[in-house]
Amino acid sequence: MTTATAAAPAEVHAGAPRRTVITRIVDRLGGGAVQVALVLLGLFWLVPTLGLMVVSLRSVKVNSAEGWWTIFTKPAELTIENYRNLLASGFTSSFWNTVFITVPTTILVIGIAAMAAYAFAWMDFPGRDLGFLIVVGLLIVPIQIALIPVASFYGGVGIFGTIPGVVLFHVAFGLPFAIFLLRNFFVGIPASLLEAARMDGASEVKIFVRVVFPLGKPAIASLGIFQFLWVWNDMLIALVFANPENQPMTKALQSQMRQFGSNVDILSSGAFLSLIIPLVLFFAFQRYFVQGMMAGSVK
């Protein structure tokens, strides 16, 4: 919350260079040295992912014989063989499971949280402030607390192992953050707008759909991308609540980890395939992603 209110434009972009104390220190240290240090650090962050990509594009035989960095001298060794094997092994179905879990969760979280956030922001009812403080408190409840109770509850109603079970769990644990984020944005909507709409006799549902939702678009976009990535990347909930035919990619890959050495082909290509969509989303919408992170950094 502190950052959400104190932070200037929430961007990965550095914006126009500005002269500050620190930049003067940097100047004195020697801009050249700083540049070299940053290049090295950048490599530190880039190389591991690059390694995964190259390993996933080389055959098992080549990978067991030499390091992936030899690719720079022998580029001809690249092959999509691993990906072909991966798809033949039935990985496609876990890809679709990931999609079928992630998309409904994201939509449900946005819808349900937006309704609650609107109520918290613009409606009067007894216990409103306490209710919202509870939401703030629930922000950091560890998922572990619900695994055992929900598993037995799912067993009782017969949705253990199913995709709806996984989705509902995700929705519930996504809600505190989502309500928190949207409510803080919605309170900023000018009161005059809502007042005018209410004077005109518009129903609350209509105000919600026609006024609040469109005006909340930036926050909803942030929430959407954040929620999408969070569910797409989850392993723990899937591990407990998804049975093998409903398992997403993370669980499918996890089951191959035991024999890491002999499954490097499947694991590297599967891991890379699973991170492609988040990465594309991240580069396309990084602004919203960063904004969501800033606003929710109490989590």
Binding site: M1, L38, A119, A219, A271, F272
Partner: protein, 459 residues
Amino acid sequence: MTERLDGPQAPLEDDTSGGSASGPDETPRKQRLIGPSPTVALVFLLPAAVLLGIWVVYPIVYSIFRSLFDAAGSGFVGLGNYMTIFTDPSMLTTIRNNLIWVVVAPIIVTTLGLIFAVLTERIKWATAFKLIVFMPMAVSLMAAGVIFRLVYDEDPDKGVANAVLTTIHDTFSSSQGYPEARPREGDQSAVAADKGAVVTKQPVQVGQPVLIPIVGIKPQIMPSDAQPAKAAPPGNDLSGTVWFDFTAGGGGKNGAVDASEKGLPGMTVEAVKDGTVAGTATTADDGTFRFDGLPAGSYVVRLPQSNFQAAYHGLTWLGPTLITPAIIGAFIWVWAGFAMVLIAAGLAAIPRDSLEAARIDGATEWQVFRRITVPLLSPVLLVVFVTMIINTLKVFDLVFIIAPPSVQPQSNVVALEMWRVSFGGGNNQGLGSALAIFLLILVLPFMIMNIRRFRREDT
């Protein structure tokens, strides 16, 4: 950059109030307008309340009760499960690991974030750097785990961490090691073992080639670039040959360089006169060596002990000792970008004039940074630090994926142990519930902190 979560009122008003009929008499935010009845509010809140009630609040209550019962759920054990957490040796290892995580990781991540944010303030390609460092945030911890299993592979020909370490190591010392190799000894032989090194029995004259036959080299240790050994041609320098005096399949003459025998490349050779090293040479692929420009005289030729130690192969990252630091390394890789972006935003928000004022008053740059910048940043630093503490308390995926099954006991953490005892084969949901409650208690102070801070800021 137009839409901002940090101050949404201003831009939204600019967009809308112009066309609005309500005019300038704005209702203050705290004064509520004619709203709908509480029943309508209830309808809007109901779905969220039901989901939060059943999936989050009820489980907390259930877990508290469940943690007081045994594995089967029928026998009441009181605080027995909690006693187990604090007495069982493997559990204590688990708690110790969590403690290491909490003490080490948040400090490193926050410091690194501060350094990155400061360093990139003025760099032209800062955006590219920030995107690269921030990117792991979008990647699943599962994928990050696979990435680091590859990085930490013990074989320096596969794992990039050990490849870098061995490269650095080899730059500063001889690259080839021949463990267990020894000289071919006997009356005929000119060399003998001496305290782990190999020396010539008699001092040799410059210009007289030295033959140093070595045996006991395992085939897998033999370097692939070894060439058939050659006797060094006589010349004016001190020279000779170090070779593997063994002909596969028998034959060959002991102590003589035979046609099929290979030289030993990368051996360090020293010429010693009166106990001090007068010159150093390294053998070529065919095993020959030559000391250039050594003064005439007689020398003892020595292969120092360092040749006979195993070659450096880097660290056992995924072994029992280094596993937790190794996984913390992966955690830092994932989270440094988060810290950097938050701190960079805080840095950009620092008012320039307070810095200028201090500078005019004669403060040095370092004083300005220490006394003004860091204190002004402290709210952001605190948020990053606390977020990291919560994340380290909950750390699960990275440990589960990166630690190989055999070292999982040494790298275990509470969140992982909770899953293991309840679902991963342990089948003890009483103990599992106790661990879940333990985890909840660990994050409780931060929960209260959040609520307090929110109340302070929202009123």
